[in-house]
């Protein structure tokens, strides 16, 4: 019993583990899989090329993509193809991260946001403008008017993944 009381006594002087959520938020782990983010390049062009491989990889059939063709006057992403519609149904998503793995341009990334709540099933469908990250400083929003012949490749040359 003394042993038990000693433990209680010791714990009384420990830092409490309770966090004052939502005022205080705990940082997530490095490989945490939260809500998806669609990435952009530094110049603001979208990384997503609308290839639908994420939708094909998705075991929960949560992703829906429709694509269209870029022109130099109205360019969303490098190369010829971009996603004209991109929707993820967060109620269906199981946050497995297969979409990340399937993505040839590292456009879709499971982010840190775990605060998903809806009052309606329709709200669970995240559209492309909700998923796209903000335009980075120095970049321009899409669609951009770009010089002809500059962005001809859809898939960038990438290093083997580190980490």
């Amino acid at each position: 019993m003394i042993k038990g009381l000693l433990t209680t006594l010791r714990e009384m002087f420990q830092q409490p583990v309770t966090i004052q959520y939502p005022e205080v938020k705990r940082p997530v782990r490095t490989r945490f899989k939260g809500r998806h983010v669609l990435k952009r390049y530094e110049n603001g062009l979208e990384k997503c090329i609308g290839c639908s491989l994420c939708a094909a990889a998705c075991p929960a059939d949560a992703i829906f993509v429709e694509s269209a063709e870029n022109t130099d006057e109205e360019r969303y992403s490098p190369g010829e193809r971009y996603a004209s519609t991109y929707e993820i149904n967060m109620l269906r998503c199981i946050f497995c991260g297969f979409c990340e793995d399937a993505c040839p341009t590292e456009a879709i990334v499971l982010g840190d946001n775990y605060e998903l709540s809806f009052t309606d099933r329709h709200q669970s469908i995240y559209t492309k403008d909700m998923l796209l990250e903000p335009v980075p400083p120095g970049g321009k929003p899409t669609p951009q008017n770009t010089e002809p012949g500059k962005y001809t490749r859809s898939v960038p040359v990438m290093q083997d993944p580190q980490d």
Partner: protein, 830 residues
């Protein structure tokens, strides 16, 4: 029968006809030898080297010619020092082929590594990705890593429009020349070619418009990479997302088998939409090809202008009503009337036509087919016998094509008759002007417009044969089998009636009616005209008068008012007009009751092709709310009249149809859906072999047996038909058919607009000069009650004092007729 040759492929014996290529022999026993450049429908070229295999042949004693045997008494096999291409090597007796050895695997890996040296990393955005032979074969046989450097890849233009229909991606091309060979050999349109050589090789077109061929879409099917893509499907969807449903093309009487690829889309509110139209293999109908009209002119079915609600006339406008009210109104008008006329277009299915017929007959009405062509009763009795197939016709068959520009009227028949002629079939072409078929004809004969029956009559036994026709007539009579194909070039109803009668008489005199590869074939203007004839619908000579004199006209899938101002006027005088339509056509605008129907993509049914093959089509899309299939509409009106008509499902209507119509006796939907094995084997997992055309699982259709002729064909009567002559200031207007016309089902496909026939009149330069006209000027044509303006086009082939007008372009031309021609000054044309 050709000699059978037995060979062994991977220890499995197979017997195939002599001359078969090793790759095809292997295919028959399920051994897929990978290929890129080889295509079973074309001659081999051996360009890609993907099909390399080890081939051994029995050793032969040179002195005695005997096969050397080993100690076990088996033939000794000698393998060559190098691999051989399975696609160019014909089989030989005792041949031994190994396709799974290490040498072969190494060769395949190295060929792929080489092909991929400069292939871009495009698979994620490539339209072919997912159904790509190069992708699949690389996964199957290719190297995991390339010894070539990524930086050494050559980057070329990616977005090269070859025309407005087909786009080229230069980087992706692996130079197999399938497209170039297809256009050259199969389509006879050598409008694409290779330019430059080696790494810089590219596909070019110098035609105007670019890639000017009506078969261009097929090159995208047989392209083994994503180098050729259609403008229609470019980045439209990924192949694995697509659902497929079988259908039949409704643009011409060939009845090409199609597969619609559909997918759910945001623009349709989450409903499926058609993403592309693909050919479906039917070796007896379209093989694996379709024309570009079938491929690209489906957009009318998804047009936002489609009718969506029954409409009733209220004063000058229309008011929406419910279906029940509409049926009651129609029934009330029909009941109160003494005479009913049902006018149907050949776009309807057999079930629609049957119900409309039952409705009409029950009210003692007149069942009229909207067509300028006659002879459907004759094709039912003297038509192509069951089992006939253009693909099996060779030198023992004579094919006589009269009054038809097949290339424009029925492209796939043109393709197959041309192929038959190249195999040796004796092709005789009778036409007043040159057509694309002349090049392949054994004999090309000319006659003057209006004299088609007389020209054809020279083929009757015992007829007087003019000098120019003698060789052709002799050739025709010496052939074992004979097929006569007649169209409606320059011919109206009376003329085509004469033509069909003469043709039937010729065939009857030969005494081979009912035998395979013999018979009469009509190049109908619409897909199911033959079905309409079988159901008892007949065209009438004086349609305006017929319309004017009835109290109720029920018009389905036809737009007489849009085609001819005289018919539009007549409709104004008709008592009550009910129109079943997809669109607010000129006819619908003049109707009292407009009933919105479903397009063929949204429903089920059967169509009868020109060859009298009954084929099923299946729904690809959900129907639009408040639309109904034509047969259900007819049944609805019938029920309101107290008639016993079936309207619940097409299959139930068909059950009644087979009991009533003798031509269809005993037929079932199940029979129509039966499939027998077809060669070459196409569309399975090995897309590299035959391309992306679909395998047929949904039915090859059934060719109807010939009906006994009601009475012997009357010969010679038609030849007395009064000949039309042009008076002073007049010319003879000759109706001809063009593939890309301006019909209601073509116009909504914006993609084809550049290629549509213009509202033009083609004149001989001398005729034009006599009227003081130059090319490009506007003229006015007029004849009792109507006038139309058109542009002038000059063509030295048009006979003097005649003018060619294209049907369905807004110039009324149902038969050869004299019209007044006036020159319009430029100012008044504006």
């Amino acid at each position: 029968m050709t000699k059978l040759v037995t060979l062994t492929i991977d220890d499995q014996p197979v017997s195939v006809p002599a001359g078969t290529l090793v790759v095809d022999a292997a295919k028959q026993i399920g051994n897929d030898i990978p290929v890129f450049c080889y295509h079973p429908k074309m001659e081999p070229v051996g360009m890609c080297r993907m099909c390399l295999v080890e081939i051994g042949r029995p050793m032969v004693d040179r002195g005695t010619g005997e096969v050397l045997l080993d100690e076990n008494g088996k033939p000794r096999i000698q393998f060559g020092p190098k691999l051989e291409t399975a696609c160019t090597t014909p089989v030989s007796e005792g041949m031994v082929v190994r396709t799974q050895t290490k040498v072969v695997a190494d060769a395949r890996r190295e060929v792929l590594e080489f092909i991929l040296t400069s292939h871009p990393l495009d698979c994620p955005i490539c339209d072919k990705g997912g159904e790509c032979p190069l992708q699949n074969l690389t996964m199957g046989f290719g190297p995991g890593q390339s010894r070539f450097l990524y930086d050494d890849k050559i980057h070329l233009a990616k977005h090269v429009p070859l025309g407005e229909l087909i786009y080229l991606d230069r980087e992706r091309c692996i130079q197999c020349a399938r497209c170039v060979r297809f256009q050259d050999v199969i389509a006879d349109d050598p409008v694409i070619g290779f330019y430059n050589r080696g790494r810089r090789l590219e596909i070019v077109t110098y035609s105007e418009p670019g890639f000017d061929s009506i078969f261009s879409g097929n090159t995208t099917d047989i392209c083994p990479v994503g180098a050729l893509t259609t403008a229609d499907f470019r980045f439209g969807a990924r192949p694995w997302e697509l659902k497929s449903s079988a259908s039949i093309c409704t643009h011409c009487p060939v009845g090409c088998n199609l597969t619609f690829n559909t997918r759910r889309e945001a623009r349709a509110g989450g409903n499926p939409v058609i993403k592309r139209v693909m050919p479906r293999q039917n070796e007896q109908v379209n093989e694996i090809w379709i024309c570009d009209k079938g491929r690209f002119a489906y957009h009318y079915t998804e047009s936002p202008q489609r009718l969506t609600q029954p409409l009733v006339r209220r004063g000058d406008g229309f008011e929406e009503i419910s279906w029940e009210e509409a049926y009651q109104l129609a029934a009330q008008k029909i009941r109160a009337s003494q005479n009913l006329l049902t006018l149907t277009g050949g776009r309807l299915s057999n079930e629609d036509l049957f119900n409309l017929r039952e409705l009409t007959l029950a009210r003692n009405g007149q069942a009229v087919l909207y067509s300028d062509m006659a002879g459907g009763d004759l094709t039912a009795s003297y038509g192509l016998a069951p089992g006939s197939n253009f693909g099996s016709m060779g030198k023992e068959t004579a094919i006589l094509v009269v009054a038809s520009d097949l290339h424009e009227e029925a492209p796939v028949w043109w393709l197959r008759i041309k192929a038959a002629a190249q195999r040796g079939a004796r092709l005789i072409v009778l036409n007043p002007r040159s057509t694309r078929l002349d090049k392949f004809a054994t004999h090309t004969l000319r006659y003057a417009y209006g004299e088609e029956s007389q020209a054809l009559a020279t083929f009757l036994p015992g007829a007087a044969v003019p000098e120019a026709y003698q060789a052709a007539v002799q050739e025709f009579h010496s052939a074992e089998n004979a097929v006569i194909v007649y169209g409606s070039e320059g011919a109206g109803l009376a003329a085509s009636q004469g033509l069909a009668q003469t043709a039937a008489a010729i065939l009857a005199a030969r005494g081979k009616v009912g035998q395979v590869n013999n018979g009469l074939l009509a190049v109908w203007q619409r897909a199911n005209d033959q079905g309409a004839w079988d159901a008892g619908f007949r065209p009438v000579e004086d349609l305006p008068a017929a319309l004017r004199n009835v109290e109720v006209a029920l018009i389905a899938a036809a737009d007489p008012a849009g085609d001819d101002p005289l018919l539009a006027q007549a409709l104004e005088e008709t008592g009550f007009v009910i129109v079943q339509e997809l669109f607010m056509t000129e006819t619908a605008r003049r109707a009292d009751l407009v009933l919105p129907v479903q397009a063929f993509t949204e429903r089920e049914g059967t169509l009868t092709s020109g060859e009298r093959r009954v084929q099923r089509f299946y729904p690809a899309l959900p129907p639009r709310p408040q639309t109904r299939p034509d047969f259900a509409v007819a049944a609805g009106i019938g029920k309101a009249l107290g008639l016993d008509l079936e309207g619940r499902a097409a299959s139930l209507v068909f059950l009644r149809l087979v009991k009533t119509l003798p031509a269809y006796a005993g037929l079932t939907y199940t029979q129509l859906a039966e499939v027998t094995p077809q060669y070459p084997i196409i569309g399975r997992s090995d897309l590299y072999y035959g391309g992306t055309a679909y395998d047929n699982h949904q039915g090859l259709g059934v060719q109807l047996p010939l009906l006994p002729a009601a009475r012997p064909v009357a010969v010679g009567q038609s030849q007395t038909a009064a000949s039309v002559t042009a008076g002073e200031g007049e010319i003879l207007l000759v109706p001809v058919t063009r593939l890309y016309d301006r019909g209601n089902t073509v116009l909504p496909s914006a993609l084809l607009h550049q290629r549509l026939a213009g509202k033009t009149i083609r004149l001989h330069p001398q005729t034009a000069a006599a009227f003081g006209l130059n090319a490009g000027e506007t003229l006015r044509l007029s004849r009792d009650g109507w006038s139309a303006e058109a542009q002038v086009e000059l063509d030295e082939e048009v006979p003097l004092k005649m003018a060619l007008a294209v049907r369905s372009t807004g110039i009324p031309c149902s038969a050869l007729s004299a019209v007044r021609l006036e020159r319009l000054t430029v100012a008044s044309a504006d």
